[in-house]
């Protein structure tokens, strides 16, 4: 699965720690999701989409290997 979290964060000028605080998770979780080491739950993905004011599919993309 690919994600555009880093790009979205840069556009909105939010750090990993700030994003983590807004969603209610730890910074390590945001980092793990960004680097593809952890797949977030649906609720977490929806919360992230809300912060960036985008749809979930615009932030997370399915790959052939999934």
């Amino acid at each position: 699965m690919k994600n555009r979290i880093k790009v979205e964060r840069a556009e909105k000028n939010i750090s990993q720690a700030e994003l983590a605080d807004q969603i209610g998770v730890s910074r390590q979780t945001i980092n793990s999701i960004e680097t593809g080491r952890y797949v977030p739950s649906t609720i977490l993905a929806l919360k992230m989409a809300r912060v960036f004011d985008r749809r979930v599919e615009d932030i997370f993309q399915l790959e052939e290997t999934d």
């Binding site: 990993q16 209610g24 998770v25 730890s26 980092n31 793990s32 680097t35 977490l44």
Partner: protein, 149 residues
């Protein structure tokens, strides 16, 4: 992993405060024949074998229960930020601890025989919890060493 079955975060310290003396007490009981005299209780006067009274010392019970309570508190206290990824790591560590515990036990079953196996059984009461605590904290540590961006 739902967080409703976890202790509050400060119980982790309480767990250590209970665990370390209990381990010391248990090892002293097993290898130095040490007993706490005030834990000796006698009962059933006249009902023991041949009509004598029954006397037991509870040092080993207290030590074992202390180790169990301490390890449970250390392993199952909430992290400072208890989010879904921490719950995921906790489940992973639990699975690991079951595998490792039974592999070690199987090796011990093969190579330890007779009375000495009783020692294996005593340690085996606690190894699953010990391995879980170690593995869970390893995962937490590996995760915390991430570069900030």
């Amino acid at each position: 992993m739902k967080t409703q079955w976890l202790f509050p975060h400060r119980f982790r310290l309480v767990g250590w405060l209970i665990l370390l003396p209990s381990i010391a007490l248990g090892l002293a009981y097993m290898y130095a024949d040490f007993q706490l005299e005030f834990l000796t209780i006698s009962f059933a006067k006249g009902k023991g074998f041949l009509g004598g009274e029954l006397t037991i010392n509870l040092t080993d019970e207290v030590a074992a229960l202390g180790v169990i309570a301490g390890l449970l508190m250390i392993g199952f206290s909430k992290e400072l930020i208890e989010d879904e990824m921490v719950g995921h790591m906790r489940l992973e560590a639990l699975q690991w601890s079951i595998y490792v515990n039974y592999i070690i036990l199987a090796i011990a079953i093969l190579f330890v025989h007779g009375e000495r196996f009783f020692d294996v059984l005593i340690y085996n009461m606690f190894t699953m919890l010990i391995v879980f605590v170690i593995r869970f904290n390893m995962l937490l540590y590996k995760n915390s060493r991430v570069l900030a961006l």
